[in-house]
Amino acid sequence: MPRLLAALVILALFAAMPEVASAMGQSSLMTLAARILIYAMAAASLNFILGYGGMISFGHAAFFGIGSYTVGILAHHLASGEPLFGIIPGSGDMAVTLPAALLVSGIAAAIIGALSLRTGGVQFIMITLAFAQMLFFFFVALPTYGGEDGTIISSANSVPGLNMRRKATVYYFILGVATVYFLILWRLVHSSFGEVLKGIRQNERRMTAMGIPVYRYKLFAFILAGMGAGLAGALLANFLRFASPDIMHWTKSGELMIMVILGGVGSFFGPILGAAALLVLEFHLAGWSEHWQLALGAILLLVVLGGRGGINGLLARLAGGRR
């Protein structure tokens, strides 16, 4: 039950954020909260394969970027009126763009995962990094969608019955999607498949001896995680009205990993805490000094060397709980 309570408190905090921000006259707070939600989704999808499945993917930002570009590209073709590849019409309808982002990032994850999961250890880390870099340079080389600068999305995708021109509405939409997303993730983690995945992290040989074809299960998890990151990317594009190669740069993959480890690897709420910690830190430190990455580096180093469990572990220890 304390978990449920924690979840409700987090939800209430995010729900109150637009009001709080306008009362304080700081609209940037709402932007910060939206980014936390979106990055928490992306980090949680990474945590699913990394924390629960033991797959250290160093290229997860690729799917984040693909989701983002799916929205950007559909918006571009809507504006220009020219269909993509001559057949796929552009769209600015959320009911089209979000499923499209899920589909495209899922397909990309299926291809990249099928190839990468043939390796393991250091090679897996490096090959996922390599695929992400390939996609990064691919989008940099696409002049149609702005190359290095990325493509601008003139307005957030439409949702029937909502005025998506209002920033606060977009924020609440993101909050709604994020809530559903985390509910689904909760089911997933505690499903039959989720239990198998946790077993795979601990001992692949044992799982094989139980009759589990490990490769297939890891691939399935990799695809689901790719889709999760893709969905987060699609929301980010809607919120920023912008899609650029920057969000699939390898340092973004690193940032997602940092969020996972800051929050606590393999803990359900860890990615939310981790994303909040990193982005709030960035928000405050960046205002305080342009050399804020110095502090970030030091903090990260301490967290990694110092103790296990990240913020979530720290909270648990403070509460005197086990683990």
Partner: protein, 304 residues
């Protein structure tokens, strides 16, 4: 023809730089099982320290020992303060801790030197150009880099095949526990290997100075290419790092030089340049993916 030759030499020059970095990285991977993302930072530290001295004294050669010392000292410090705690940890912790080091070193360099790139003076003796043969001028400094790289390769080969330390290194990269069982002070071996790797990274960084801009972020650019070299060559294999380094240097340089021209033959120039540059940038990663799919442990993986 001359254009092709020139690009091959440029490729070799880039290739030996990759080798200098990859040699250290592959040993650290292979022997200690540690992924060191901060290897590029050592390259950067060597470049900045050496260039700073060279710029103040006006002598390229005075900068060299400073570059080597700075990189080696930084490497030893990293090993003793951070990496030593990571030997028994999983790859995730290693990736994140050394990623944190990148952030730290980059900001420290910004604090000390600012964000503007600085330039290393060319050594007097190697400025200008020499005629390799009639009608083919080439900058001698690049030849110096190639020669240095090949010399280092020879030296490493001798070190590894002809000395006791080398014997331990070879044994360590195939079977870590065996070395421990031999009663060798494995910590000492680790520190030596790490220091040596740092030294080579510093050498590469300083030599790159006169060709590339010395600036924050230079380490990460080459780091990713170095990882590709290490993985293609096979983690832990110096021979693999050498072969893959040179091959990748040439392939990458050639693609950047010739792909846009190739696309221009059937596309409009602007689009061709863009596409060519894009595919050239993707090239080495594509190559790595292909190699890993055929040989998941790389080309020369020890013990494979």
């Amino acid at each position: 023809m001359i254009l092709v030759l020139e690009q091959i030499l440029n490729g070799l020059q880039y290739g030996v730089m990759l080798f200098l970095l990859a040699a250290g990285l592959t040993l650290i991977f292979g022997i200690m099982g540690v992924i060191n993302l901060a290897h590029g930072s050592l390259y950067m530290i060597g470049a900045f320290a050496g260039t700073w001295v060279a710029a103040h004294t006006g002598s390229f050669w005075l900068g060299l020992p400073v570059a080597l010392t700075a990189a080696a000292v930084a490497g030893l410090l990293i090993e003793m303060l951070v990496v030593r705690r990571l030997y028994e940890r999983d790859h995730l912790d290693q990736v994140l801790a050394t990623f944190a080091l990148i952030l730290l070193f980059n900001e420290l360099i910004v604090l000390l030197f600012g964000r503007q790139p600085i330039f290393t003076p060319l050594p007097e003796l190697f400025s200008g150009s020499v005629q390799l043969f009639e009608g083919f001028p080439y900058p001698p400094y690049r030849l110096l880099i190639i020669a240095t790289g090949l010399l280092v390769a020879l030296g490493l080969w001798l070190l590894i095949n002809r000395t006791r330390i080398g014997m331990l290194v070879r044994a360590g990269s195939t079977n870590r526990d065996m070395v421990r069982a031999l009663g060798v002070d494995i910590r000492m071996l680790y520190t030596i290997v790490f220091g040596l790797g740092a030294l080579l990274a510093g050498l590469a960084g300083y030599m790159a100075g006169p060709i590339l801009a010395v600036q924050v972020g230079m380490g990460e650019q080459i780091l990713l290419a170095t990882f590709v070299v290490v993985v293609i060559g096979g983690v832990g294999s110096i021979r693999g790092a050498f072969v893959a380094g040179l091959a990748l240097g040439v392939v990458d340089t050639a693609m950047r030089a010739f792909l846009p021209g190739f696309f221009r033959t059937f596309m409009e120039p602007a689009a061709a340049d863009n596409l060519g540059a894009g595919i050239a940038s993707m090239g080495i990663y594509l190559l790595m993916a292909i190699v890993l799919l055929i040989r998941p442990k790389g080309l020369f993986a020890p013990g494979a």
